[in-house]
Each structure stands twice: as C-alpha cells, then as structure tokens.
Subunit: 210 residues, 2 copies
DNA sequence: ACCTGAACACCGTTCAAGT
DNA sequence: ACCTGAACACCGTTCAAGT
C-alpha cells in the first residue's frame, strides 16, 4: 500500500532501449521489408500504438537502430598511431563495412538514416577530430569513403539476399565467365583507390593541376 | 464491323512507355514517398490493377524509371578524346550527378534499382568498353565513383527537401559557423580525390606498396 | 508513466470476369 | 490485348481513455 507501488509483480514495462533492442533483433531475423511497427509491437507483446510513446515515428526508431549499428566504428580506439589521413580513412572504411555486414540490411537502414541526417557520420567525426589542421581534407575523404562503403555494401547485401533465393540464374546469364574470379577483392581495391590520393601532396585542394 | 475494330473512337489504351512516362512525371511532382501504384493509376484514369498488365510489380516500374533517368549518362558521346581513365570517370561522375539531380528523389530511386541489380550501371558499361586493356581498373573506378555519387546525391536531395520544409533550424544548431562556407565544392572535391589515384602508376593493383 | 482499443487513411498485389 | 471490380492481407499514425 506504499505510494510508489513497488510491492507486487508489476507488468513488464518497456524502456526505449528495449524497443530499439527488439527492433535490431527483429531486423536481423526478418529483414527490413518485414520490419513493421505492428510486427515489432507483437514481438514486444504490446499494441502498435504503445510504440509511439517510446518513439516519435518509424524513421526515428530506425535512426536509433542505425546509431547502434554504427557505434563500434567510432569507438574501438580512435586510431592509435599517428597514421596518414588516407590510411586512417581506409581503416575506418573497413570497420564501417564490417559493422554494416554484421546486421541484415544494415547498409540500407544506415543509408537512409544518414541521408535524412538523423544519425551522425562516424567517419566525419573521427577524422575531423584526428586531423584538425588538415583543412577540408578530412571531410572530403570522409564523404568519399562513407558514401562509397555504404553504397557498395547495400549492393552487396541485396545481391547475397537474392542469391539466397533462386535469382542466381539471371545474374549468371548476364556475366560470361569472369564472375567466378571477378578481381582479388573489388571492395578493398576501390577503397584503396579512394584513400590513396588523400596522402599525396596537394591533395587538399583540387585546383592544383600540375 | 471489321475484325480489328479500328472504326470507332476507342478507349485510350496505354502502353508500358505511357506508364513509365506517367510515373516519372508523378515522381517529379509528388516525390517518391507519395508515388504509389494507386495514385499513378488515378493519374492515368485507370484501376490500380490495370498497371499490373504493363508491369510485373512496383520495383520493376521503378527500375524502368531509373533506366530513363540514367540513359543520358551513357549516351551523349561516350567520351570523345582519349582521356586518361581517371579523367573519364570524373566526367561521367559529373554527368551522373546532373542526371540524378534532374529528377525529384532521383538518387534514391536509382540507388535501390542499382542495388537490386534491376538496372545496369552506366559507368561500368562505358568504362569497360572504353578501356578494354586496363585490367580491373575500369571496374574498380566505376564502383568507387558510382557509389559515391549516388550516395552523396541521395544525401544532398534529402537535405534540400528538408530545407524546403522548416527543418533548417535543427541543422543550423548542430553546425557552428562553417556551414555558410563549407568548402569550395564538397562534391567536386571528393570526386576529384577518388579519380585522381586512377591515373597514377600502379593504380591497377593495390598490392604494390613500394 | 506506460499502455489499450478503436479508428483513419492508406498500401501492393491477385484474380476472375468483362470487352 | 487491355482493363474493371472486388477482394486479401497488410501498412504508419492518432487519440481518447484506462491504470
């Protein structure tokens, strides 16, 4: 009979963290197209409308999921040694790639959250802080690497999802013989290309032709 | 009374081209979130189910729209002079950027069609054909430029859409003072960075450390 | 503070049937 | 060949009301 009502097995109320956790787990299990507010509510044993007490709308929820996916990129020691900018960017690009691949449809979710500006870009944050005297170069490299990695991984995840189905035949028909050996590693090659120029002299200003 | 029934003012039947045209026009007018099959049917004076005679599903329709948006990139003279690979890629990247910006939500539409493999990548086609003896380099540069340009433009178009609304205040609060003068041109700078390394010696194989 | 119940205004897609 | 009518199985979101 106390005022705060802490003396009985109370109903299992949810926090926003619980909702985001459940959303990420559901994403991994069913994929983005089947991640609906209604299904998530079912998963939590709650009415759909209850979710809107924890979250303003679906986009905000997906932004929170994106933030969770991206967190390890900026964490994990923000580059121990004093690497050249391009090397640091390449390393962060690989880390981003890994994090996106770690969750079903991770790249697609993050892509739209980034585009909508609902989640900060980890590469921009880390590189701006790590190279404060490099002018615009850190932002330029972060732009180049982030958009490449997210776009490439999006493509990659759609392709493996299609392969899990029976769509492999159509793809095989379009590509003659070199799809079995496409290149050593197209992702690594493109990422290396992008970051290589960042460590050249006069890389900061594109007007220098010479 | 002829068999083909060509003797009366017949109902205005639609071709698939008409449907795609209407879809692109509607996209430009209302944007991707409001481009529904039902609204498109309304626009054509037809029942929603009628669209499924012309098109297998919405994704295929959007792929056709994407192909229409991308067509001018590969056309328009496939690079007159014998440019270095990186220069050609930069030029094509600018052209792609222009085409995506020419239609509302163009980058988002094209992004998903490319990811799903429902539309060919113009950069890959043009560069593979233009540089047949350059090994994997043309594909690598095409990957890097395509994903960067599409991702950057997606971000760009969402931002201008948000600015058209009243969301400008939140963005301004997050960025201290350098958003008025962010850089000469972030897009051009990143694109130049990406394509610069393609014209360096040993750019084709990333294993060459030297 | 956290959730229910019920509703509003939509979706994409299928399919028998019409002309 | 091209389209209608009607239905199926869903959506995201709002809002008064409950505890």
């Amino acid at each position: 009979m106390v005022a705060d009502g802490s003396n009985s097995p109370r109903a299992p109320r949810r926090s926003k963290t619980d909702v985001v956790n459940a959303a990420l787990a559901l994403l991994d299990r069913v994929g983005l197209p089947d991640l609906s507010m209604r299904r998530l509510a079912d998963e939590l044993g709650v009415q759909p409308s209850a979710l809107y007490w924890h979250v303003e709308n679906k986009q905000e929820l997906l932004a929170a999921v994106s933030a969770r996916i991206l967190a390890p990129v900026a964490a994990g020691g923000a580059l121990g040694a004093a690497l050249p900018l391009g090397e640091a960017a390449r390393l962060l690009g690989e880390r981003l790639h890994d994090r996106l691949l770690a969750h079903r449809d991770g790249a697609e979710v993050v892509s739209s959250s980034l585009a909508l500006g609902l989640v900060p870009s980890p590469l921009h944050l880390v590189l701006a802080e790590g190279y404060p005297d490099a002018g615009h170069a850190p932002q330029v490299v972060a732009d180049a690497v982030t958009h490449f990695v997210v776009g490439y991984t999006f493509h990659e995840q759609q392709r493996t999802a299609a392969d899990a189905f029976g769509v492999a035949a159509r793809t095989a028909a379009l590509t003659p013989a070199d799809v079995t050996r496409p290149s050593p590693d197209p992702f690594a090659a493109a990422l290396a290309l992008i970051t290589a120029a960042a460590d050249l002299p006069a890389a900061s200003e594109p007007s220098a032709r010479r």
